[in-house]
Point group: C2
Chain length 449, copies 2
Amino acid sequence: MEVRFLDDILARVREALARSDLQAAADMLESLRPADQADVFSELDEEEQIALLPRLNPEDSADILEKMDELEAAELASELPDEALIPIVDEMEPDEAADLLGDIQEERVHAVLAGLEDPEEIHPLLLHPDDSAGGLMTSEFLALRRRMTAAEAIEAIRAWKPEAETIYYLFVVDAHGRLSGVVNLRQLIIADPDTLIADIMDPDVIYVTEGVDQEECARLMSRYDLLALPVVDAEKRLVGVVTIDDVVDVLVEEATEDIQRLGGAEPLDRSYLDTSVWMIMRKRIGWLLLLFVTESLTGTVLRHFEDELQAVVALSFFVPLLIGTGGNAGSQTTSTIIRALAVGDIDLGDAFRSLWHELRVGLLLGLGMASVAYLRALSWGSSPELALTVSLAIFAIVLWANGLGAVLPLLATRIGIDPTVVSGPVMSTLVDATGLFIYLSIAKMVLGI
Amino acid sequence: MEVRFLDDILARVREALARSDLQAAADMLESLRPADQADVFSELDEEEQIALLPRLNPEDSADILEKMDELEAAELASELPDEALIPIVDEMEPDEAADLLGDIQEERVHAVLAGLEDPEEIHPLLLHPDDSAGGLMTSEFLALRRRMTAAEAIEAIRAWKPEAETIYYLFVVDAHGRLSGVVNLRQLIIADPDTLIADIMDPDVIYVTEGVDQEECARLMSRYDLLALPVVDAEKRLVGVVTIDDVVDVLVEEATEDIQRLGGAEPLDRSYLDTSVWMIMRKRIGWLLLLFVTESLTGTVLRHFEDELQAVVALSFFVPLLIGTGGNAGSQTTSTIIRALAVGDIDLGDAFRSLWHELRVGLLLGLGMASVAYLRALSWGSSPELALTVSLAIFAIVLWANGLGAVLPLLATRIGIDPTVVSGPVMSTLVDATGLFIYLSIAKMVLGI
């Protein structure tokens, strides 16, 4: 319903543009909420966007650029002349403005910064990577002093007229600007107007330093139910505030990246249908080739056992079934372990407990699957010896896949690699060649070939 | 560092419990933040927990139960006598209390409700599923009236002394309790004290009805950067408020479920190491068996082509390589499509665009992989005809896997199934049998066997 409504607006904006009525198109866009403005705007052609953006008021243009995919926004900004871009950047939140400037040509950044009203709000943010606390934070915050009264603090808030997102937690600093407490707006309002900030503030503040990763910020804010997280420099001076709306975006973005990596592809930088076919191909071909090369080990194993396979042709009928089941068991394990690592249920110190947990799960699963496989093989008319081979093999392969699935993500984390690279496809591929070796070795022993 | 600090506290709590000094153990726990209290508390044995909980003050016990895994909290609550449980439930947030009561024995719920100070806060919440807006919302909110002044509104807030989480957005209702606007605390503070609420409120409020799914609530709040989302009944009367901290938990929980399902397992109900080996096995065996049965189709296909396989034994060396690559290409596609659906980048209306997108990606990937496979087959000493077979097969299989990977999650969504069930393992399994059929049919034609 909502989407159809936006489609309708889009059609009317296009119609207005077709008859060159820029003002009508701008009015229609401005009647929408920022996220919806960005959605409709993104659907327009680039020339239409460039023509329309300077006609919108700078606050709306700023909202649109903040809500668009980062790369798309940067491309668009690069096309705008300085005199159109500067007033828009002036209206953006400092953290979003810094992200945008970080993505456009370096020689233009200086020109734009020079034209801004408050370049010093944005400048320090440019020094930090986008995915660190320093890149995520806003430098627009109001710091209170311990000797202020509640009434004076409320007066300061009124005089400041802040953006909504940074007002609900107010941080208290000492004479050197060092973080010394936090007070929330509720406490300020409820307090007797003459109370000193020092008496109502909580001196035990949770904070991070500028270099802390954005995932760690998200984990802290989600764990302690924070709406804002103060960021300090090496001297514990307050330099910015990370707000919950940015962290919600981080959570969604990180889950997207994890899921794409688990599927065996590099994460896309923009929304799916806006990513070109060529770019999606480039994000996938690397893994596909690497897995192909690893997978070709299966051919080596099969040729190694060529005589056995020729002696009992029926052995080959079970190959996809056995290695497929191993890959599935391994995927189940890695996805559980990877997520448990991501949400902090386990850490490296739990490596042995996790392995032991998975080996016991693998034992139970292996026993269950072995019984089913035994009956299945008999029902296909296989000899009892072949059925026994298949069922022993599936037991061993499931146990092996579960162990490998538990160890690999932990090992990746240990050596500083994102554990999501040990995804389902990587697991299946590793289990395929090793599983074949296990299967055919067992066949050789049981069948005496 | 943080974790080691908690381990240290845990050791000291255990030590105090060992010498039966319940008070010392309680004091140590009470010095921590709620999330940390819950972590340390969860590590204790059940008897220790039952002994300790009534010694903590009810606010702390309430925080601990709110932060523990839901099933663990319910088990613990079931063990407590009514006179210990009631004061704790009284201190819990209404939405969390309703979740807890929904998980304990029904006959106890009435006794507990009867003992509460404000049972009517919790009672309506029990009627909604945990994962709907009605189950997620809190019924503890302050509604303003249009004719109030800003000063009166602030006075009302002071008199009410609310929990922090529901104060930053204040919703305005008419004489019938129907939602008619929203005003945020910042606006109230900045406004002239005599301004009427009707003049500063935004009448265009984003709201949901009680039955709306929690994922939709999260999507709306993340899209529009909301800190609170009002929930109304069928008559548009305000009945509750969903707050951002609950939505952050929903986002983390839903991502966990998606990732576990993508790995081919049912999601776990509690944290990994707290889930018994037996329970993990039960969450996985169903899928593993279902995939096993589907995968055994590969055996049927192989037996169908028994003569061809015996004529050219080398054909079988490429089987795992070809079906493995097909499974990998399919997993890459499904995980991209599933995530694009989840974050709203695409919806069912984009089905054909998505399929067309993936078919073109498949074409490029297929051409790339076919060239590599041709050279690889030759380097293994295969005949040019066999190399051609393998390379045609891999092209067709990758194209097929990409198409299938695009269509299946959309089809699942269309018929009302969670698209994550069409996960990597399901894809690999489907592609295995069909891929084999494609490969051996091409072999029959090219090699003329």
